[in-house]
Amino acid sequence: MHSENQKHDFEPKIIAFVCTWCTYAGADLAGTSRMQYPSNVRVLKFPCTGRIDPVFILKAFQQGADGVLVSGCHPGDCHYIAGNFHARRRFAAFRKLLEFIGVDLGRLAFSWVSAAEGGKWVEVVTDLTEKVRAMGPMVEFKDLALEEQWSGVINTPELQEAYDAI
């Protein structure tokens, strides 16, 4: 189990999109069982993985997430019959797209965690946190957010430097 006392140079920001019936309840169980895991994860609750729009994952990365987890009910356990089956196809496709664009899929994890699997929740979250920690910050989207069209640039550090030199 993860030791909270370890100090790291980089603490990744992990965002988890989970369904309320299985994974959220599984995370609750991890709590009631007093299991320990890295504090990096921030959980967003959805009724069902079927509700999770790929745009949310994109937005999470744009907002500075270093890793994203999507987790819901095991196949056949969906509270809404088939929401997780639709999610499974949707994300199978979306991850391929992100990979093609150049996102390292090590930063994007998917899991089925049932309400009884507090231990699995801890494992999934710990694994992703450690993996992303080793990969370092997700700089791609953050850098992109800072970039402007050349024509809209007010003055670049280089220009500033040149001014200063005059």
Partner: protein
């Protein structure tokens, strides 16, 4: 390896032009259609533009040449409110265009019985960057035509009876480029797309020309919430192109209009082809001539691949 440029025989296009003119004329005379969406010559030498004609007299303006690049299916979507949809409409379709029409029927946007399909046996059309007055060769041909498997549209109401001459062997531009990109590292691919998307000016030509972007209110135009940055900055551009590719996944029929019309030459169809390739591998889905009730991302099977899920 690009092959040396070879000419492509388009001599049948003259026969096709004559055939669609007489069929159009017949359709109006017999009052079978109220309008026909086709192509007509424009000012620039060799150029063609979409036209919507409503009488037999105008049938003589219809043409089919290697410059008839447009997918006219876009004019039948809800995005085009200007075109009254009263009565049967005739439309000239290449194989690739027909796939889009079939997709639109599957998405309740069109009904087969409202259309009169004039199919074109097609040897290929020009790519976007070239001038209209260019002869069609293995070099000047549109990339989508290089990997075309629907030279002859099926299930049309009328197809000019011509025999397609055998075409020269062509390179598989998309497959090769996708394979090249797939072989790169994520960082290299990111760098590639970053440079491409940086050019984007959000003119939305890709969206407006796409038969499947028929939403009246695009998600990317909304500001409550702002799902995607609307300004043409690198961040918003990248988000837009990711969302666009995702929304077309499992729907795109491969007409490559998005890529053709991009004034900044962003290879947009690469994204669509990549998604098509993945959906083929994952769910054995391909856009075709059969109207499907559900697309690959609106259905599922219990046995779908989940090797990526822990």
């Amino acid at each position: 390896m690009p092959l040396t440029s070879q000419p492509i025989d388009t001599s049948i296009y003259a026969t096709i032009t004559a055939a669609i003119r007489s069929e159009a004329s017949r359709l109006f005379t017999a009052a079978e259609v109220v309008a026909i969406i086709g192509y007509a010559a424009a000012r620039r030498v060799g150029s063609a533009q979409p036209v919507i004609i409503t009488d037999a007299a105008a049938a003589e303006t219809l043409i089919f040449t290697e410059a008839c690049v447009n997918n006219l299916a876009v004019y039948l979507t809800k995005a085009k409110k200007e075109i009254p949809k009263k009565g049967k409409i005739g439309i000239i379709v290449k194989g690739c265009d027909l796939k889009a029409l079939v997709g639109l029927m599957g998405e309740s946007q069109l009904k087969r019985e409202d259309l009169y399909l004039i199919g074109i046996p097609c040897a290929g059309v020009l790519a976007s960057a070239v001038q209209p007055a260019t002869t069609l060769t293995t070099e000047t041909i549109a990339s989508k035509c290089c990997e075309c498997d629907v030279h002859l549209p099926l299930g049309c109401d009328f197809v000019p009876s011509v025999t397609l001459p055998p075409g020269p062997q062509m390179e598989s531009r998309y497959s090769e480029e996708i394979a090249r990109l797939e072989a790169l590292t994520p960082a290299e691919r990111w760098a590639y797309w970053k440079e491409q998307f940086a050019k984007c000016i959000k003119c939305y030509a890709c969206r407006q020309i796409c038969p499947f972007c028929f939403c009246e209110q695009c998600l990317c135009d909304r500001n409550k919430p702002q799902m995607v940055e609307t300004t043409p900055r690198p961040a918003g551009n990248t988000a837009w192109h990711i969302v666009r590719a995702m929304h077309l996944a499992g729907r795109c029929a491969g007409c490559a209009e998005c890529e053709r019309v991009c004034p900044m030459d962003i290879p947009l169809n690469l994204l669509n082809r990549k998604m098509a390739k993945e959906l083929k591998e994952l769910y054995d889905y391909e856009a075709g001539f059969e109207i499907n009730d559900k697309g690959p991302l609106t259905m599922f099977t219990e046995k779908d691949d989940q090797s990526f899920i822990k």
